[in-house]
């Protein structure tokens, strides 16, 4: 508690923020060519300079490589036990911000492994599950301190997850009488479609307007992106067809393991893709979906915007900071792999004005590496979050 108060005090007073000069053998900006022998200057929590040479005017941190803080759009942050809304299939107006446990140890896990910004979403057990928020992974344990963007996306889910929701989330017996969720893929799609038809009807008849149709109207106007989870081919297809049917301007398909089977459909519909973590065996274990190694490379080549995700794993070999490496094993270029964990996800949820690349004026979220980023033989050795040093790369750090 004392610590939280201290942290809050620190955040409340920007004058406490330190000036840093991060020098790296290579600076990967994610907004242009990498800079050999460059620096990133940080003042008052913002990036104030990026260039070649040694820079100056602050405490010096040195490392082999520096990249922007990583961004995970599929992070599975803990929302506690009572996380499945049973009252309806489309709790569209609910906001996950009300349920997030900011005291969870998992934030630290993400932060120290280089993930500085995440999209926290309602879970995937409702067809239209509510609104997600974009947060920083560190800072004081209050929403104000961490919020990057409120109402960032509307969460949707296809496939077996919402259809399996007519069971209690924990334990085997129903814990409530509100069991009227769809139990098939047909039902899931119908619920999705009906919600949007209602919205279209409401646009012509003011009496039919509700809070929920207002949210969906923002999705239809392109103000609010929609994140549709779909692991298997048929769910990726359904997402694309729904996007085309309703002319939804901004959609990304989350956990789209089998997107490699339908790249052209994705291109045609204009949907972006968030890929689940790589598996050496290819099998994801969800909905029978198989993700080929070259999925990211293939989608990139076809022109689909991709982001990678760590999906909240505790396995140190499978976290987001290793995922671009696996995508590179499948043929993705380094630059595209870097973009897929930085600027691409930032754009997908509309926070690229603040994070996602190393450019002057952006938030000072930096990841420091001891070797070529994303290789298994490299590690994240330092992290700056809003200019605050949260993982110290300097040796003999009080150990």
């Amino acid at each position: 508690m004392i610590r939280s108060v201290l942290l809050l005090a620190l955040l409340a007073s920007p004058t406490a923020a330190q000036d840093w000069v991060v020098r790296a053998d290579t600076v990967y900006t994610a907004s242009g060519d990498p800079i050999d022998g460059g620096f990133v200057k940080v003042s008052d929590g913002k990036i104030t300079g990026v260039g070649s040479g040694r820079g100056g005017g602050g405490d010096v941190l040195e490392c082999a490589a520096v990249t922007p803080g990583l961004i995970d759009l599929s992070v599975r942050i803990d929302t506690g036990s009572f996380s499945v809304e049973q009252s309806e299939e489309t709790p569209i107006e609910l906001n996950v911000a009300d349920a997030i446990d900011l005291f969870s140890y998992r934030w630290d896990r993400e932060l120290k492994s280089g993930v500085t910004t995440v999209l926290a979403n309602p879970n995937d057990r409702a067809v239209l599950g509510g609104l997600g928020v974009v947060l920083k992974t560190g800072g004081g344990p209050s929403l104000d301190a961490r919020l990057v963007k409120d109402d960032a996306v509307l969460r949707a889910s296809l496939g077996s997850a919402p259809a399996s929701g007519n069971r209690a989330p924990r334990g085997s017996r129903p814990s409530s009488f509100y069991f009227r969720r769809p139990t098939t893929r047909m039902g899931t799609e119908w619920v999705f479609r009906k919600a949007f038809y209602d919205t279209i009807a409401a646009s012509k008849d003011a009496e039919r307007r509700t809070g929920e149709t207002d949210v969906l109207a923002r999705v239809l106007s392109g103000e609010l992106p929609i994140a549709v989870q779909g692991w298997a081919t048929q769910d990726v297809r359904t997402a694309c067809y729904l996007k085309e049917e309703f002319g939804i301007p901004r959609m990304f398909v989350d956990a789209a393991a089998e997107a490699w089977k339908e790249p052209d459909l994705l291109v045609r519909s204009g949907a972006a893709v968030v890929l689940p973590p790589f598996r050496f065996e290819g099998q994801t274990g969800v909905d029978g979906a198989f993700m080929a190694y070259n999925t990211a490379a293939l989608l990139q080549e076809k022109g689909v915007t991709i982001a990678l995700s760590g999906h909240g794993t505790s396995d140190v070999g499978m976290r987001l900071n290793k995922q671009p490496g696996y995508a590179m094993r499948g043929g993705l270029s380094f630059d595209a792999a870097l973009a897929a964990v930085t600027i691409n996800p930032a754009r997908m949820v509309g926070v690229d004005n603040r994070v996602g690349s190393l450019e002057e004026g952006k938030d000072a979220d930096l990841v420091l590496w001891n070797g070529k980023p994303f290789e298994p033989s490299s590690s994240v050795i330092g992290v700056l979050l809003d200019g605050e040093l949260v993982l110290d790369p300097r040796p003999n750090d009080d150990e």
Partner: protein
């Protein structure tokens, strides 16, 4: 599927007695790297290795590799139960069993071994036992266990962690009782001999056991721990086969692979090994949390195989924060010899384990030794495998680039001078990399159209 396996893996049937492996860089593990090197393998062993200019290549030997490849010694899996049909036996104490009867030569695991460059595998019974079966060292090629065999009857599996359904106390009691029973059995046997009782001999004859040659002779009990006097009176063939493996463990014939799932199991394992005189032949197979017993392990001087994850994660009870401990780093600091194992992830890959360890701060030499030379020494094969030297077995892996990089692939594997894996012919690898497009999907139709167009274009050219 069998046809695919045969295309990709069946080359070992037509062995040449010579092969030349060329590589832009040879990582020998035992000495400095060789730039633009050549390895000559004859009759399964390396006869020459060195820079291209210094090595006489036999004119009639086939050549694989080239300047773009990096050569490594084949990786050595120090301990696994994965090639077994079923890894565990329901009997608590069953050292008379042999994994040889349970190894499945067409298990996917062995195919994966080649895909990842593992050329020597120590197969032991699973950890769910008190005293398990005798293990076996194999190479992951061959359609029969005999073809795969490198060392039969290698090692005995023991577990200090409770077999399912047991408490730690019953587990400890079970271990002690096994050796107590052995002692009582041997004492009875000697007494029977002294009494002129011929029961053991008649039983051996009835069971058709070997009583000729060495087995007709009696021998003093070997080993350093405890002894039963007068065992020289009993011909070895008369000793019950169910008891013999434990006696031979005490006498030093077998390596012991002792599993511990918790640091609290480590002192028990060391005690059993010490009391029965096989500590010097003991290797601990450890879950990652066992790093907490590192001081005890260092004091006992036994090597370890890391069966769990490299990073041990626990929650601080006061702050609730996660504490990460890099386990191989602890072992290195304490001077404990350790082998990494691929059992701990779904990668099946020792190459990846070594690379990950480097990322966490282990020096490259120790990390790469932990998947080559160290496991070779643990298995008693230090003179045969684990490094590329003249006289050692010709087990070579050719990588497309730096073996520790995520973008490198195992392109060729040579085991004892025979090329047993070629990535360009590996159908499953292609499936993992590119997937198999389902018929009817737009992408599959595109591919068909493209293929058709290409064929048409070729027709036009004609």
């Amino acid at each position: 599927m069998i046809a695919h396996i045969l295309t990709a893996f069946a080359l070992f049937g037509v062995a040449d007695d010579k092969i030349v492996v060329e590589a832009g860089r040879i990582i020998t593990q035992s000495g400095p790297d060789i730039v633009d090197g050549v390895i000559v393998i004859e009759d399964g062993r390396i006869t020459e290795i060195g820079p291209a200019d210094d090595v006489d290549k036999p004119w009639d030997a086939p050549v694989i590799g080239g300047p773009d490849y990096t050569a490594m010694p084949g990786f050595v899996e120090a301990h696994t139960s994965r090639g077994l049909d079923r890894p565990n036996e329901s009997l608590d104490v069953a050292p008379f069993l042999d994994v040889r009867d349970s190894i499945d030569p067409v298990a996917f695991y062995f195919e994966d071994c080649l895909r990842w460059g593992i050329t020597t595998v120590n197969v032991q019974q699973g950890n769910n036992c008190i005293i398990g079966a005798r293990g076996m060292i194999v190479r992951p090629v061959g359609l029969t266990v005999e073809e795969m065999m490198v060392r039969p009857q290698h090692g005995l599996k023991l577990s200090a962690s409770p077999k399912s359904g047991k408490s730690r106390s019953t587990q400890a009691q079970g271990m002690r009782r096994a050796f107590d029973e052995l002692r009582r059995y041997l004492e009875d046997l000697v007494q029977q001999k002294k009494d002129g009782d011929d029961f053991a001999r008649r039983e051996a004859l009835h069971q058709g056991r070997d009583l000729e040659g060495e087995k007709a002779e009696g021998r003093e009990m070997g080993g350093t721990a405890w002894k039963v006097d007068g065992l020289d009176m009993v011909p070895r063939g008369e000793i019950d086969e169910k008891q013999e493996p434990l006696l031979e463990l005490i006498e030093g014939r077998y390596n012991a692979y002792f599993y511990c799932s918790s640091p609290m199991d480590v002192p028990r394992a060391l005690e059993i090994a010490r009391d029965n005189g096989f500590l010097a032949k003991t290797t601990l197979v450890l879950h990652e949390r066992c790093w907490k017993a590192a001081d005890l392990i260092a004091e006992a001087g036994v090597p370890v195989v890391l069966d769990g994850d490299q990073m041990h994660i626990e929650r601080d009870p006061l702050t609730g924060k996660e504490i990460e401990t890099f386990v191989p780093g602890v072992f290195k600091d304490k001077g404990i010899r350790f082998a990494l194992s691929s059992d701990n992830t779904d990668t099946h890959s020792l190459w990846f384990q070594a690379s990950l360890a480097i990322g966490f701060g282990l020096d490259a030499k120790t990390a790469m030794d932990a998947v080559t030379q160290t496991p070779a020494e643990i298995l008693g094969l230090g003179k045969e495998v684990g490094s590329l030297e003249e006289g050692k077995l010709g087990n070579v892996v050719l990588f497309s680039g730096d073996p520790m990089s995520i973008t490198s692939w195992v392109e060729h594997v040579v085991i004892e001078g025979e090329e047993v894996y070629d990535r360009s012919k590996d159908v499953r690898n292609t499936h993992l990399l590119e997937g198999t497009k389902p018929p009817g999907s737009t992408s599959a139709e595109d591919a068909e159209e493209a293929a058709k167009k290409e064929a048409d274009d070729e027709d036009d050219e004609d």
